[in-house]
Symmetry: C2
Subunit: 366 residues, 2 copies
């Protein structure tokens, strides 16, 4: 039985995906609308653990690519996703056995679920980062030797581009301007892998995790408890090598946004509600990459920094931050695999231009 | 017997290609070096008239793409061209029967000849413009209904991108940043066509023409005649609906070059050698797009404007223009097909931002 059974589940899943997006990854709303529609027709995504698949099953990631603002303006068409799948199978020369998200945080959590609901193809309860990241090569798939390409990109009009590049960094640099040239809603089939590779190298349980996070927030809110209590209790389950804590409780007193080179850069400054002396600052590079309390690191990539409405617990993307919003900032350990040395080389603080070594959240202030 | 038999022929062909480049198209030197090397091994390009091919013969254009400055820094490797051909045949799903230049002006005149010399494949004595133009969609192939894509792009390292786009304008906009991302020497197989289509819609005799122009200049120079006399006599053959004349004789007194959005923009101002009152001006948009004498049009696209050393008759690309050079400027009618109304919509003066209708060279001043 699918773990996504009703409209509340979809809403929860999308909310959890925004949480895991850590400020980035785009708005899951269009994928969510698509899924609501599928569910109304009795079609549910077929979510499976990687372990249930044969080792040689052929897995690809389905992703929307391009600026989140463009994504929001277009509705996902079922015909486009089905056409992509057909063209991907022709391109790869084999049937696709299962789908996966490369990025569970944000919009790209939803598209494999959407295509699964349409076709019945299994979607693996896993992804390549357990959060959102700005670059194509920032996945465990890439770090552990599975390339993003050969990949195929299509738009809803029938344009088609295929890429077969030596490095995922080059794939990132090539894909981005292609998408900019195509301009509209662009989807890709990317990261062709075997299920054996996925079993060994993915961040597992991502969909279940996203769904549970979204559900904790909703249930916490509905029961009129402190919404954060339920959430932190779930995130700090004792069997996990992961920790979550409130890094700051306050209001946004200054925020800057800038779009440069296709990226969203910015900074938010927070102060306590009682105007106490503490100052809290969050740097944005698409995602929230570092939080500092009175100048000292409170959390840094790949640890997750999440800004949530302090009353409703609704997680916010970086674009949503505005002067005057009252928020709580949660810090949450990244998945264990994400903190390995070979991974931190690709998405540790230095990869984002920060002059510091990685610090796990448990060693930070706040 | 190939019309290219010896090293002089190759040099003539390259010189003619610079002439037909009308300031643009890049330096044919690397293709020329490749051809010299092939000839030294006894391999000659197999140049044929389109009429000799079966209607259903499969023809593709082979082109180097990217900034001319990058092209000059790399030597063409035979392995790269052969690899492109092999990948192109796999991509199109059929054997390539003949090659063609999309653009006879400049560097891309040479690569089909080079691959022909390597493989023995015929190269058609024709092209898609009879000159050089800055945009992919500016070919008679495109105007008359053959698309630039499906196309395949490869670099010497093994990177591969394929494009299948609805319009050639979109192909232009997509291909350019892909090439910029790949960065190195990039070749494409592009404009897949039937020989039947080529027979009906190409500019014919381009290779023969380029070779003859280059030869006229060399022979004129060697015989110590006025080098321009031989050339103009050839270009003004009475059986052709084409005219050539000297538009100006003088020195460059001012020249500006600017690289913006990947294009070469600029202007050259010329005065008579005797410092007489006439002023002559040439606008550059990769190619020489308009020449004005005392403010009045002397020639405008698609008519060819060619700047040549006034002593040696050597044609110059726009990048070569420098203060103090003594030059003659030749105006030369474009091929008849290039002046048809449907063609002028794509590459007439307005397509280059000039606020005027096309004027054939015979109706211009000078």
């Amino acid at each position: 039985m699918s773990i996504i059974q009703n409209q509340n589940d979809i809403r929860d899943m999308a909310r959890g995906a925004v949480f895991l997006g850590a400020g980035g990854g785009g708005d899951p709303q269009i994928g969510e609308l698509f899924l609501h529609n599928q569910l109304a027709q009795g079609r549910k995504p077929n979510i499976v653990s990687a372990e249930t698949l044969d080792d040689d099953a052929f897995v690809v990631s389905i992703a929307g690519v391009g600026a989140p603002t463009v994504l929001v303006e277009y509705l996902v068409s079922e015909a486009h996703l089905l056409d992509l799948l057909e063209k991907a199978e022709a391109f790869y020369g084999r049937k696709v056995d299962a789908l996966i998200s490369a990025e569970i945080g944000g919009a790209n959590s939803m598209f494999p679920l959407a295509l699964s609901a349409s076709t019945g193809l299994p979607v693996i309860d896993a992804d390549g980062m357990g959060r959102a990241f700005p670059h194509l090569e920032m996945t465990t798939f890439s770090v552990y030797g599975s390339k993003a390409t050969p990949a195929i990109v299509t738009d809803e009009l029938g344009n088609k581009v295929t890429l077969d590049l030596l490095t995922d960094r080059l794939a990132e640099e090539t894909l981005r301007p292609v998408v900019a040239a195509l301009g509209a809603m662009v989807f890709s089939a990317i990261y062709p892998m075997t299920a054996k590779f996925v079993k060994a190298n993915a961040v597992h349980g991502s969909i279940t995790h996203s769904l549970a996070i979204g559900r904790c927030i909703r249930e916490g809110r509905d029961k009129s408890e402190d919404v954060f209590e339920t959430l932190l209790q779930y995130l700090n389950q004792p069997d996990e090598d992961r920790h979550a804590k409130i890094l700051f409780d306050g209001k946004i007193v200054d925020v800057s946004h800038e779009t440069r080179d296709g990226w969203h850069w910015g900074k938010a400054v927070l102060r306590p509600l009682d105007n106490g002396p503490d100052e809290f600052e969050i740097e944005i590079q698409n995602e929230f990459i570092i939080a500092r309390k009175n100048g000292e690191p409170a959390a840094v990539v790949p640890e997750l920094i999440i800004v949530l409405d302090r009353e409703t617990g609704e997680p916010m993307t970086a674009e949503m931050l505005r002067y005057g919003l009252r928020v709580k900032v949660v810090g949450y350990s990244s998945a264990e695999i994400m903190r390995r040395p070979e991974c931190l080389e690709v998405w540790g603080p230095k990869a984002f231009g920060l002059d510091m070594d990685f610090m796990p959240i448990s060693e930070c202030v706040a």
